[in-house]
């Protein structure tokens, strides 16, 4: 690794425009196909189900969706990349594939270290208090107990769940959806990640929290990481990301500076 860094600085020293660029995520012609259950739609009798078990075929109400069709891009260290596109364009799917949670059917995704996916649906234990969830979440991210003890108070402060009384000691099922999402973001953001994948998390929470979380995302990037942000709120993409990738129906439409891509995207969305 060290010699690679040396080699690239040597080469870029003469190229004044380019900085030392170290790729953290390399997506190489990735195709992702997944199966969705359409609910009960015929062929659901026990006999039919048994026959499928024996013959090892899939249920007829399971349909294959080709969600990502040959996407390629490279993300570098220190970048914040927005992923935009209309609903069902494959943004969240590709994020989950980068996190290693979905397999690619063709092509490959290479990553530096272990990317962490931060989604609003990341459920913690609802019967436990916020404090215990913080400890559990930090341990699940691989932190040492000493480090968790040091960070726990800061995480709760950052999430702001204690702004209206002592909520940290109440079970998470008593939280509003915004509070729960804020706590989850705070836990995930407490650790330095090589690659952090955020799925719409910044859209939740009030204005004050949004500001804090944007600041936190900037800090994470400075800590030599790459941040991906999937969002329907173009404003939060514009505020946090300088590069944006536009996906449409699983195909990469555009990849470039945020302003240009968003301009094109808005023109496309308005013309529909």
């Amino acid at each position: 690794m060290a010699e690679h860094i040396v080699a690239s600085t040597e080469a870029t020293a003469t190229l004044t425009s380019a900085q030392e660029r170290i790729p953290t995520v390399v997506v190489d012609d990735a195709h992702i196909i997944y199966r969705v259950h359409q609910g009960a739609a015929g062929g659901t009798t026990p006999v039919a189900a048994l026959r499928r078990l024996v013959k090892r075929t899939h249920a007829p109400n399971v349909r294959e969706v080709h969600a990502v069709k040959g996407v390629s891009f490279t993300a570098y260290r220190g970048e914040a990349i927005g992923l935009i596109g209309s609903n069902g364009s494959g943004k969240s799917t590709i994020l989950r594939a980068i996190a290693g949670l979905l397999p690619v059917n063709r092509g490959a995704i290479h990553t530096q270290g272990q990317p962490s996916l931060l989604g609003v649906n990341a459920a913690l234990l609802n019967d436990l208090s916020g404090e215990r969830n913080v400890v559990l979440g930090c341990l699940a991210m691989g932190m040492h107990p000493d480090e968790v003890a040091k960070q726990a108070a800061g995480i709760i402060d950052f999430s702001g769940i204690n702004e209206r009384g002592d909520f940290a000691s109440l079970p998470m099922r008593t939280y509003s959806s915004g509070m729960a999402a804020r706590l989850r973001f705070s836990i995930a953001a407490a650790k330095k990640h090589d690659v952090l994948l955020i799925d719409e998390a910044l859209a939740t929470g009030d204005k004050g929290f949004r500001k804090r979380s944007e600041q936190r995302v900037r800090e994470l990037r400075e800590g030599a990481g790459t941040v991906f942000l999937v969002s329907h709120q173009l404003s939060s993409v514009r505020d946090t990301c300088e590069r944006t990738i536009w996906l449409e129906s699983g195909v990469l439409r555009m990849d470039g500076p945020t302003d240009e891509v968003i301009r094109e995207y808005e023109a496309y969305a308005n013309s529909k």
Binding site: A11, V26, H110, L118, A122, A140
Partner: protein, 297 residues
């Protein structure tokens, strides 16, 4: 380097070459068995904290709270004693109530671990899809939760054994290695059913019946001497039934006159250790081989 000094060294490379050049790894790749064990060890604090959290959470809605840890095994023992001790009046066994509760609590350790383990992947999909950690942490913490439950029921058991007039002897110490061996065996079986249960959710419906059949084959509710009336091969089969072996070890440790199916104590210990080893290692390898599949689809 001199010839390429003016060019970015990464230009002209394909995506795969670029990734290889900077030492990037394929996303979601399965680590080697040694590496996986090492990572799992690094997650031991998480496993313990999660097991504890589950235990607390499971009673958080009940008014009596943690008291149920003791009340559940007591009620269980009372119900079975009513049927098998009073209604069916099995008086042939000395100190039947202690005989029954020993079998019941030891069996219940495996039963509840296996039932919870079947769902240990499918009921934690949110956690699995959000965070990356060795998935074996989940079935292992399930086993640990049940082990903590077992310790509570052991307090109840020792109370029952003392009240029914069994003397305290040095043999009681044998309970510790017996329970530890059973815990290893359980961890292995839980890892096995966790992977099976992650793939096919139907297993959850079938598991209670499998466990009940297993219970009748483990001599929990009646005297093990009944098994001697079976044909020879069936008796041998029952003798090697891991749960019967663990129950017999506990009965041997705590009770003075309990009837045992296995005559030789050495054989009992060897079979107990053998099962723990086979299930523990086999279950771990089987679970590891499916590591990339959990939480997908």
């Amino acid at each position: 380097m001199a010839t390429t000094a003016l060019v970015d060294p990464d230009t002209g490379l394909t995506q795969a070459q670029l990734a290889a050049r900077h030492g990037l790894r394929v996303a979601g790749e399965r680590p080697s068995l040694a590496e996986y064990s090492r990572r799992l060890w690094a997650y031991r604090h998480f496993i313990a904290a999660y097991a504890n959290a589950k235990l607390v959470a499971s009673y958080s809605n009940a008014k009596l709270g943690q008291l149920w840890q003791v009340l559940t095994p007591l009620t269980n023992a009372a119900v079975y004693y009513l049927i098998f001790g009073v209604v069916l009046a099995q008086n042939s066994i000395p100190n039947f109530i202690a005989y029954l509760t020993t079998g019941l609590f030891i069996f219940n350790f495996t039963q509840s671990a296996v039932l919870a383990g079947t769902q240990s992947i499918s009921s934690n999909l949110g956690l699995i899809r959000a965070l990356h950690f060795p998935r074996a942490s989940l079935p292992l913490s399930t086993t640990m939760t049940q082990f903590q439950q077992l310790l509570a029921s052991m307090v109840v058991l020792i109370g029952i054994v003392l009240v029914t007039g069994e003397p305290i002897t040095l043999k009681w110490l044998l309970l510790v290695p017996a329970l530890l061996l059973q815990a290893v065996f359980n961890a292995g079986v839980v890892l096995l059913v966790a992977r099976l249960g992650a793939k096919s959710t139907d297993l959850k419906q079938v598991m209670p019946f499998i466990m009940r059949t297993w219970m009748y084959g483990s001599g929990v509710l009646y005297s093990v001497s009944l098994f001697e009336r079976l044909p020879g091969w069936a008796t041998t089969l029952v003798q090697y039934n891991p749960l019967l072996v663990y129950i017999e070890l506990a009965r041997y440790a705590l009770l003075e006159q309990a009837p045992l199916l296995n005559e030789s104590l050495t054989q009992l210990w060897l079979v107990a250790a053998g099962w723990a080893l086979v299930a523990g290692i086999g279950g771990f390898i089987y679970f590891w081989r499916g590591e990339q599949e959990y939480g997908r689809g």
